[in-house]
């Protein structure tokens, strides 16, 4: 875990995001009806979700490790990863709403993708409520670890599987092709994939900062 104190990967993340901010505006994009220039939102809206996935995934990994090891630090990593993931969740949801206003006509059109995203958001809010509801530390850690392990696949189902089974306005769902199939050019990929990696690193960085703060708080509380 020494790498969380090192700087090189944080600098890499910042450079990648700066690159995507500049290239994301200046590289050419396909001219599509309705979307127009808002297609560039792909570089900023989708990476929020990718970043969220990474930190939620790390959280599940450490929840499983906690159940195996019983080490308190593993539980602390899990909770701080979820806390960070929720920030990116909100950013993804709100940026998606703004985009929807101009691509679909309304901020919230009760689209299956939007509705299941809202449900999955509540799923993770329930995780935080659950944690606050249990006072005894080991019990809290164990129960919330189990909850977290179940919440993650349910979130995947809600965000990626259910909307695909019905009609949705969101690309990649229902009868709609994903962006990748027809609209994505290689020039766009040259921005999009670095954006994924860059924002994932930023999210991981924030999670490690929160974890380190939590470690100090934990030490002070136990004194």
């Amino acid at each position: 875990m020494k790498f969380i104190y090192q700087a090189w990967w944080k600098i890499l993340g910042v450079l990648l995001v700066v690159y995507t901010i500049i290239a994301g505006f200046l590289f050419t994009v396909p001219a599509l009806p309705i979307l127009h220039e808002t297609i560039r939102n792909v570089y900023f809206h989708v990476p929020m979700w990718m970043a969220m996935f990474l930190v939620f995934g790390v959280s599940v990994f450490y929840s499983i490790r906690y159940l195996a090891s019983g080490k308190e630090e593993h539980d602390l990593i899990a909770i701080e990863c979820v806390n960070t993931g929720i920030i990116f969740y909100v950013l993804g949801l709100v940026s998606g709403m703004l985009w929807a206003r101009y691509a679909w006509g309304e901020y919230w059109s009760n689209d299956p993708k939007q509705n299941s995203a809202a449900i999955a958001f509540l799923l993770y809010c329930a995780y935080l409520v659950l944690r606050n509801a249990i006072d005894e530390e080991q019990k809290r850690a164990r129960i919330s670890a189990i909850y977290n392990i179940f919440a993650f696949p349910i979130m995947i189902v809600l965000l990626f599987i259910l909307p695909r089974l019905t009609d949705s306005l969101h690309p990649g769902n229902g009868g709609n092709p994903a962006f990748g199939k027809y609209d994505m050019t290689n020039e766009m990929r040259a921005v999009l994939y670095p954006a994924f990696i860059g924002w994932m690193i930023i999210a991981l960085w924030i999670a490690t900062l929160r974890y380190r703060i939590r470690l100090i708080e934990n030490k002070q509380n136990s004194l």
Binding site: V17, V18, L26, R212, I216
Partner: protein, 68 residues
């Protein structure tokens, strides 16, 4: 004081733009809808936030060393 400053800024920007109307040179930042200015703004905002994150990181490192 503030009113005077605002007047000065308005005067200066008006003065500069009055002279900038006809002759255009090295105009990347002002060309085609001025999107480059927006790119610059967002880049500055993000770099600023990143530097802020780095300072938090450094403060935390100090705190950690102090705590051990």
């Amino acid at each position: 004081m503030i009113k005077k400053l605002v007047c000065l800024v308005i005067f200066l920007t008006g003065y500069v733009s009055a002279f900038a109307q006809d002759v255009e040179m090295a105009d990347t930042m002002r060309s085609s809808g001025k999107i480059y200015v927006v790119v610059g703004t967002i880049a500055i905002v993000f770099i600023g936030l990143a530097i802020y994150l780095f300072t938090i990181d450094r403060r935390l490192t100090k705190l950690e060393k102090h705590n051990d």
